[in-house]
Amino acid sequence: MSATMQTAAAPGTATSWYEASARARVRLLLDPDSFVEFIGPEKREVSPHLKLFDLPEQFDDGIVVGQGRLGGSGVLIAAQEGRFMGGAFGEVHGAKLAGLLRAARDIGPIPVLILFDTGGVRLQEANAGELAIAEIMRALIEARSAGAKVIGLIGGRAGCYGGGGLIAGCCSALVVSEQGRIAVSGPEVIETNRGVEEFDSRDRALVWRTMGGKHRRLLGAAEAFVDDSVQAFREAALALLGEVGGFGLDTLRKEQARLQARLRDFGGCADAVDIWTAQGVTDAAAVPALPADQFIDLANQIRQVSHDAR
């Protein structure tokens, strides 16, 4: 990773990203006192569908969207609250993000930060949630095509699963921490459908090797790995905003080549340690226990990230 900009650290930025609420992440990530929320909780735009299931609502429907400044420059930002309904996409929740991305498309180029913390679609509103994700994917690509850079930040307790994983794959770049996980099917779903021999969802080490932040960084599924602190996420987001390219046919061709090479090189590997060994990591089994700073050094040696193939 290139040299990070030295920015004044706001108080509390040694805060654990994992432990922080969506609101706290936004408040501490952005420049102090710069955040303005859109359709905040006082607007009480709750889900119209949870009542049918006797489920409690949250006034912001589990996502905080708005604008602020990062390192002095304007950004749009959305942060999912992973503890409300597992951070899952519902009708209102998804529409807030879709509207934000459409705005980025219209006023471009303004960076958008998406703080993912989601299990995917909210089942009680499954069709609305799925559609919201499809609309978000489209709006995101339209925003990028208009010059906006979209950075995804992943490190919360819900991870980035299901349709959230597809949205993440549409971003310009991703920042992930040890706690972050990115996948389409969750561990329990794989086990339920294919059996425990295929995937033991209670084997945490397996889950993290397969879907976790370190593996995603080494695989090239995420551009930056950071320590679990708001300050680290902030610095990584700032650095990536200075590095990522645009979006177009050329990007898609390079991504096709990147993904094809991955299948060719690792498609026969049974486990992440086999992939890491094939990549030249001398002690692959030791990777999960590596502290963040040592892992970051290792990752930078093993895999240079490209910024024009996502």
């Binding site: 609101r23 905040g40 006082e42 009542k51 489920l55 409690p56 503890r83």
Partner: protein, 104 residues
């Protein structure tokens, strides 16, 4: 789900000038409290939507205690509750009023 609306008189208005504050998250055993400075100086309103039905007496006791302790005149508190324990409710209400008074 149960809806409750509890009105109280407050001895004095809540301090500070902040118009709105939000604390907490709606999850099992947790709750969110939205505080708004929208009422006359000595009025207080606590509106609750909760998954745990039949605990009206407990809510009444918690709110009475809260209003007595903090005198949050002028404030409307709106709660979405995921089945939190009374002490968690008291904590969130206290957090909310402290934010409104500018103490944190």
């Amino acid at each position: 789900m149960e809806d409750l609306s509890l009105r109280r008189d407050a001895r004095r208005p809540a301090g500070g000038a902040r118009k709105m504050a939000i604390v907490g998250v709606v999850a099992s055993g947790n709750l969110e409290v939205l505080a708004e400075r929208v009422l006359p100086d000595h009025d207080c309103l606590v509106e609750i939507r909760t998954t745990a039905t039949g605990f009206g007496d407990v809510w009444n006791a918690v709110v009475t205690d809260f209003v007595e302790r903090y005198s949050p005149g002028g404030l409307r508190f709106s709660i979405n509750d995921g089945g939190a324990r009374p002490d968690t409710v008291s904590l969130r209400l206290a957090q909310a009023v402290r934010l409104m008074e500018g103490a944190q």
